[in-house]
Symmetry: C2
Subunit: 488 residues, 2 copies
């Protein structure tokens, strides 16, 4: 602090005046000078922030061109609906109905097809149901006399708004009809407040429903026709991508442990990043749930039919996370300071690497099953191989004491010495034992993944690779099963 003050006293600041002369700023003018510096700093900081912001935006756009396309689609939909209404002066006053179409497009147009359809249907249904109900109540009120109107209106708004708001907390409603419930409250309140006569209301409601239908249809059409982003496909891609990451991480973590010096030479950061791929699995729960939620609204697209079992993807995701927890624990234990003696590490490395590579092969095969959407013919074999490797690993662990007591030429020494050797080894090989134990646990959890994927294959009626081959061959009569014969 004291140093700084000295500095500012020594430095001389000059300001060039408008008439060309320059004036030295005496230390007394330090306030103005400091204020200028502060302002400059502020502006520079702001400029830097804005630059950063735009750079980030640019990166985002480059990495995910789908998002850019989505933005252009929104712009297009809005322009079309705006101009459509702008061009037709037949509508009363413009402000009225055009507004609802524009509003619908802005509010309903979402990133994925599923989300757009979900919001569209919610909006239409919410408006329709609430409108009908409100008009019905309005009619009753109009029959009962003017003086009760505010009370009945007030009470009905209060009760319905409270009840429907509460329903939005119920998970099953929240998942699917959250937006519809909001629109219900909105529409009902608007009609209750409007104070129009019933016939006027009917006309208005009519117009409004049409406008909303036009708006939502436009949105759904644009979102489905121009480079559609399907929530289902996004979910599917997320899961398969995460599976690959999981396989790579598992392989990588174990590999890195046994071969620390070798792998760090090429592209350190890149491989580190890949090793941490399992963290993506840990953090993708919320995205998976949102996507699965929207996917169920989507019509058949690509290789997915309408009732594709999207919920099963959540189960697969959960089983993957269970694996990822173990990998995270493994990553932690393995990086601890205890150094396992090289000899033992070497002895175990082959079989541990085999387990991890067999395990990740199973995961890769699962990813392949998902990618090709065909039942794998080799998965049982691979799981068997994985389990064999696990057994082998356990066997090898059993042989370990023999190893770590033998290698030193201790044959002549007596028992207490040997105990000591054993003692050192047990403590020292703890990370290794833990790694083995976690590998075994990971293998068990991978079987959970296998089950989840197999259930998906059942539910989604995946064909097995063998069936596919049969289909490609000409069908001989003898091959047709009994039920089919009757039809033939």
């Amino acid at each position: 602090m004291a140093q700084e003050k000295e500095m500012s006293r020594v430095t001389e600041w000059r300001i060039r005046m408008a008439d060309g002369s320059s004036e030295a700023l005496a230390p007394e003018a330090g306030l103005a000078c400091r204020a200028w510096l502060a302002l400059k700093g502020l502006i520079m900081g702001l400029v830097l922030k804005v630059c950063n912001f735009f750079r980030k935006a640019w990166d985002l756009g480059q990495n995910e061109p789908k998002k850019v396309i989505h933005c252009l689609k929104v712009g297009m939909a809005l322009t079309v609906v705006s101009l459509f209404y702008y061009m037709r002066p037949l509508y009363e006053g413009m402000g009225g109905n055009a507004m609802w179409a524009v509003m619908t497009v802005v509010v309903v147009f979402e990133n994925t097809v599923g989300a757009t359809i979900c919001k569209s249907l919610n909006r239409i249904c919410g408006t329709f149901v609430a409108g009908s109900l409100a008009i019905g109540i309005h009619w009753i009120v109009s029959q009962s006399g003017k003086e009760f109107e505010p009370f009945i209106n007030g009470i009905s708004v209060f009760l319905l708004a409270s009840a429907v708001t509460f329903s939005r907390f119920i998970p099953s409603v929240k998942k699917r009809f959250d937006y519809g419930a909001m629109i219900f409250i909105l529409t009902f309140s608007l009609v209750a407040v409007s104070g129009y006569r019933v016939d006027k209301l009917l006309e208005m409601a009519n117009n409004r429903v049409y406008t909303i239908i036009i708006g939502t249809s436009l949105c759904i059409m644009i979102t489905m026709i121009i480079c559609p982003i399907w929530a289902g496909e996004e979910l599917y891609m997320l899961i398969t991508r995460n599976m690959d990451k999981l396989a790579y991480s598992l392989d990588g973590c174990v590999g890195e442990y046994f071969n620390e010096s070798g792998s760090s030479s090429d592209g350190d950061k890149e491989s580190d990043k890949k090793l941490l791929g399992y963290k993506c699995v840990l953090t993708s729960k919320a995205t998976e749930e949102a996507m699965a939620n929207f996917a169920r609204w989507e019509p058949a697209h690509g290789r997915f039919n309408f009732r594709h079992p999207w919920k099963q993807y959540l189960k697969i995701g959960a089983s993957m996370r269970a694996c990822a927890y173990c990998i995270d624990a493994l990553d932690g234990c393995v990086n601890s300071e205890n150094e396992v003696p090289e000899l033992i590490k070497k002895h175990m490395s082959n079989i541990a690497l085999k387990v991890s590579s067999e395990s990740s092969r199973v995961i890769k095969e699962l990813a392949k099953t998902m990618k090709t959407m065909k039942k794998s013919s080799t998965i049982d074999y691979l799981v068997g191989e994985m389990n064999n490797a696990v057994l082998e690993l356990q066997e090898d662990l059993k042989s370990l004491p023999t190893l770590f007591i033998n290698p030193q030429p201790l044959q002549g020494a007596d028992c207490p010495e040997k105990k000591n050797t054993g003692a050192v080894a047990l403590m020292d090989i703890m990370p290794l034992v833990t790694l083995v134990s976690l590998l075994i646990e990971i293998a068990a959890r991978i079987e959970g993944m296998v089950n989840a994927v197999e259930e998906l294959a059942e539910m989604g009626e995946y064909k097995s690779v063998a069936d596919e081959k049969n289909e490609n061959q000409p069908v001989s009569k003898t091959n047709v099963p009994d039920e089919h014969k009757e039809e033939v």
Copy 2:
């Protein structure tokens, strides 16, 4: 299937007709009968579903009365704003401006104060900025001549809508201004479509901004005055509750392992549920993030000031999740089939239980620090104790081979036999070694939690318990630090 058919043939169905006679349904009428059964099943299923739905809703309401209160608050706010506008026929046509107030209340009123304020400010700013910009462009258009109007409008809507939609993908915007961006697009498009003259527009914009401000103020007032639900407090409660759960789970899992028969007697399901408390930590990431996001909008409330470091809570949450991953792995490894010999298990149980209880004591102390919002005076001591226990555990593990070679009276046997004993033991004690290893890793990760909480205590300027005691005592002159003396 065949059996079923037979059944339906044997059973005789009778229908009571309107005139009182009854008619046996011959097997030929099976179709009607089946249709009736199907319909009955459908209706019963529906009734059951509806009953279930209401039971769930009732449970939800009982468990979380806060949510019920929120619903009543929404109902109240809507009724107030509706009646307010309904009662004042001075407003032109009612439909116009009342609509915006009602809409604002419906859309803006959220569960927590933070979310309501966030949406309110976003709505006001979005409307204001977009309105100003749109009116500005409108004015330029009106100067340039009627024929260009549709083009300029269309292009400006397209460009702005695309750009702002894109900005909603940028994380920093998405977190805070997502709703504002949507409102911006909405308002801008509405004004562009409206086609009014500038002076009319200004009047309308004026009215609309006022209406929105009235609506949002009402929401903010109601949400803050009547039983407010603060996002910050919810986050704080979630984190402290999760900490307690974590401590209990850790203690419980290790305890259960060493004392399987003892604990299972009392309230099995209840304790099982508590043991799985760590799973709450695993799944609460999304909630934590949302709450932290809203909490930053909240004014000072309760024990939290305006700039309370809510972001730090996310760090604490992340460090807790890191612990929970290990507990999950531990839970898996520990429940594996390998049975550790009772003797060794007993030998290790004391110290392992000590580590787990010391660890969970640290976690509980952290939870206490958070609950009391005072720096703990004992946390360093407790962490020391935990680390000592870990060291002791490691020492004990070193002594283990002595133990498992000694107990059997094998002194007379020669070395190969001993090797064998050692070998069996190593394989068998693998779960135990893994448990120890994971306990050590958990202790290390708990230190991460300690750091995160200590950072929070620094940032939030928590007082230490000792300071507090000093404050409560009459301040003696000699105790006052130098700086204070000057002030005195």
